[in-house]
Amino acid sequence: MFEGWPLLSLLVWLPIAGGLVLLAIGDRAPGAVRGLALATAVLTFLLSLPLWTQFQPAGGMQFVESVDWIPSFGVKYALGVDGIAMPLIILTTFCMILVVLAGWEVIQTKPAAYFASFLIMEGIMVGVFAALDAILFYVFWEAMLVPMFLIIGIWGGPNRIYATIKFFLYTFLGSVLMLVALVYLYNQAGSFAIADFYGLGLPHQTQVLIFLAFLAAFAVKVPMWPVHTWLPDAHVEAPTGGSVILAAIMLKIGAYGFLRFSLPITPEASMSLDWLLIAMSLIAVVYIGLVALVQQDMKKLIAYSSIAHMGFVTLGFFMIFRILVNSDSGALLAMQGGMVQMVSHGFVSAAMFLCVGVLYDRVHSRQIADYGGVINTMPKFAAFFVLFAMANAGLPGTSGFVGEFMVILAALKANFWYAVLAASTLIFGAAYTLWMVKRVVFGEVGNKHVAELQDLSGREFFILLVLALAVLGLGLYPAPLVEVMEPTLQQLLQVVTAGRAG
């Protein structure tokens, strides 16, 4: 029934239009605003489902739309999805429903602007994943900063202004260099279509410079060690919904950039600099895991754990050259592992931040020390929290395990020590997550605030239940996701190896 619909355009512009309507309504009718926000988010999610059901894994770019946009510069409004982008778009539309629900009663100041910011953000993020034109990609990529800047700055915690300006400047600095690289590539390719940038056969020196420009943009967004310092600040100060979107979607956009730009456009430079990326990823996994261990603030702990988990993603993407030297199989496994880890981390980190949000809404503290024995007053909540903590630690049966296991398995084919270091996350991850859970959830009731806690409301229960199903579903039966991505990743691998050889 969706034949011929401009589905991707709808997914981009419907939420943005909804957001503008919310702004126009203003705060006169908060009830209507919430309802409309939820309706828009749900409708967008439903419209994104045909992407999944009608997707042909081997079909290359699909649902393509292309219109001239700035003819004098050869810029096109071109959208399309492949096996990498499609799951991420659905993840985006899915998470947005949860975010709207999570902010339902909690946001009392300027609710219209709050929900509008998130809806506009949703459209922009879908645009990032769907853009086939480099300038269109860049437009969405940068425009994303604006709603997030406001979300953290207006509805954030006490130190929000510092956090939001740091967030904006850090990511802006990273991405302007990418703009220069894109303009340079346009000069070489004669078009802004991303696919035209592939296989240009640029000289090695040039490739390295372009690779570094992309690295500046994507490494900050992922974020990779050592440019990760904006993330804990932004996460801690952001409202719960903001943290969820940051962790579940925005971090993925950086990793997505590596797949869409760095690897296929500059394969030679990716290969010669892979040691750098592997080192940065492993440091993120090990060192940031240790940093997470000593955090006193729950949100900060989860933020650091996000960085460590994203280290797995980038490790999977950039290990492929080392694997290809040793064997032919395994490289695909590494990339698939990275992708599965991205989707899984989207669910798990969203769930973790929502759990912290549930506690914060009641006690208004994120300090681990302010809790203890929550299970006595909030048994339902505790069950969910423990489940998500297990997923975060990578327990088999949950989604967290699948991606990590695939990456570790592939790492063995690259270098034994990579696998050892990567596998250390199973220890550190379990240590910091479970230790936090022990201090927050278990034991005697810590203080009178905890004693007065109310268990989950129906709304909160619903949100966490949906996420729990997603985490378990992906953990027990990851095959559909892996199959959807496989042909696209295979093709990407061919582009990379062809560019590397030539």
Partner: protein
């Protein structure tokens, strides 16, 4: 001697005549709130736009003994000037009225300045260009001192006058050398005679370039900008910060790009130095400003750096990019000054960044407008400022000067910091105690909203304007 073809210069004749008519009409039919002069001025600009498009858009003809050229470039420049001046008039009216400064002379001087810019835009002789420049400058000096009882205003006008006269003198000196080398005032003849090896032309180029970059406000000829922006009445600062930039650009295009094409290798280096200095000084000095008007002044300097980047490419695409940048920047800057005017009232100028505190709570429409304007100045996509930077970068990279593009974008990040500081005050901080409700006429609000919307819509559909700016050089 045959009669010159007056029809080609119809827009200039119309504006000149109407400026005189308004001067007289203002004496005899002042109307309530100077309505006669105000609406006549807007009418003049509207008709001038129609005349320009009608007579000059498709033309490529010389008249007045080849001293005047009617072509597409001139038409684009002029229409931009009309639009920006009309904005300045609309924004100024309420401000001037509430401070008992609403006099017909404001509009008359503005129109004469427009006439000066029109003459510059259509100059095909050194002399014509100079006459236009002087007409514009004299009107600007007087406008800066428009509030004659203000000490700051008089000081700013004096400073502007002294420095501006010096710059005019330099231009004239440079022109005399070029004339000496070419033996003709005609720019086509100059272009034929000028070559890169003749030191006379190189000297002439240096002095003319100093004058042009003074008008634009490039470092190290930027000293007047912050003081004039701060000292002049806000609507005058708005006017000076917008349309005359287009005029200065016209001067560059006529005198240097078209007049001295073979000296490109020389002026490219000079402009590169000026551009980098402007980017550095403008952005770094803006960071420490607490006065919003001064901040906008230094931010102008930094944007001039970007405009020069486009010009130094020395190509049609580069000049088209600079033209697009200048027009859209002027549109954006007009909105920024309009927000200051909106916040100010009699006896309170609202020119500190701190005065913007809590704008989001006080007046969300103005806050959203400010958001778009500041992000446009930062160069965030979705606003027109991004495409302005993009087309300039494209021209610079095309000219093989990637390192200049990198400097440009890095300093754009520095710029982001102070624009964010403005937004921080407006969005994240509580309004000051006892801040009164903002008063502004409905038409002022409508125009401000339209201005911000233009920044947004041009940021989503920039294609037509970019194509126009490039077509101007075709």
């Amino acid at each position: 001697m045959p009669m010159p073809d007056f029809s080609l210069a119809l827009p200039e004749l119309w504006v000149g005549a109407m400026a005189c008519v308004i001067l007289v009409a203002d004496l005899f039919v002042p109307g309530k709130d100077r309505a006669t002069s105000f609406y006549l001025s807007l009418f003049t600009l509207a008709v001038a736009a129609w005349l320009t498009l009608d007579t000059q858009w498709d033309a490529r003809a010389l008249t007045f003994s080849d001293m005047y050229v009617a072509d597409k470039l001139g038409a684009v420049l002029k229409v931009a000037v009309y639009g920006l001046t009309a904005l300045a008039f609309v924004y100024a009216r309420g401000y001037l009225k509430s401070r008992d400064m609403l006099q017909g002379e404001y509009f008359v001087l503005g129109l004469f300045a427009v006439l000066g810019m029109m003459v510059m835009s259509s100059a095909h002789s050194l002399l014509t260009a100079y006459i236009g420049l002087e007409l514009l400058s004299l009107c600007q000096y007087v406008l800066v001192a428009f509030n004659r009882d203000s000490r700051f205003g008089s000081e700013a006008a004096m400073k502007y006058f002294v420095l501006g006269s010096l710059a005019s003198g330099m231009v004239l000196y440079g022109m005399s050398m070029i004339y000496g080398g070419a033996g003709s005032l005609d720019l086509a003849a100059v272009a034929r005679a000028a070559n890169a090896d003749n030191m006379l032309f190189v000297f002439g180029l240096v002095f003319v370039l100093v004058g042009v970059t003074f008008k634009l406000g490039a470092v190290p000829f930027h000293m007047w900008i912050p003081d004039v922006y701060e000292g002049a009445p806000t609507p005058v600062a708005l006017f000076i910060g917008t349309a005359p930039k287009v005029g200065a650009l016209a001067l560059f295009m006529r005198l240097i790009y078209e007049g001295l094409p073979l000296l490109q290798e020389h002026y490219q280096l000079m402009l590169a130095i000026l551009a980098v200095l402007s980017l550095i000084v403008g952005n770094l000095f803006a960071v420490v400003q607490t006065n919003f008007k001064r901040l906008l002044g230094y931010s102008t300097v930094s944007h001039v750096g970007f405009i020069l980047l486009g010009l130094l490419a020395g190509t049609d695409a580069g000049n088209g990019a600079a033209l697009f940048y200048t027009i859209t920047y002027a549109l954006t800057a007009a909105g920024a000054f309009a927000v200051i005017i909106l916040l100010s009232r009699r006896g309170f100028e609202a020119d500190q960044v701190a005065d913007l505190r809590g704008l989001f709570q006080r007046d969300s429409m103005a806050a959203w407008a400010l958001l778009l304007i500041m992000f446009s100045m930062t160069g965030v996509p979705g606003t027109v400022g991004f495409y302005a930077k993009l087309v300039v970068l494209q021209a610079v990279v095309d000219a093989g000067l990637v390192w200049l593009a990198i400097i440009g974008v890095l300093f754009a990040v520095v710029g982001a910091f102070y624009y964010l500081r403005v937004l921080k005050a407006a969005f994240f901080e509580a309004p000051p105690e006892g801040a009164p409700a903002l008063e502004a006429s409905g038409s002022f609000r409508a125009v401000l909203a339209g201005n911000a919307l233009a920044v947004l819509l041009l940021g989503i559909f920039p294609g037509a304007l970019i194509a126009t700016c490039i077509a101007a050089f075709a």
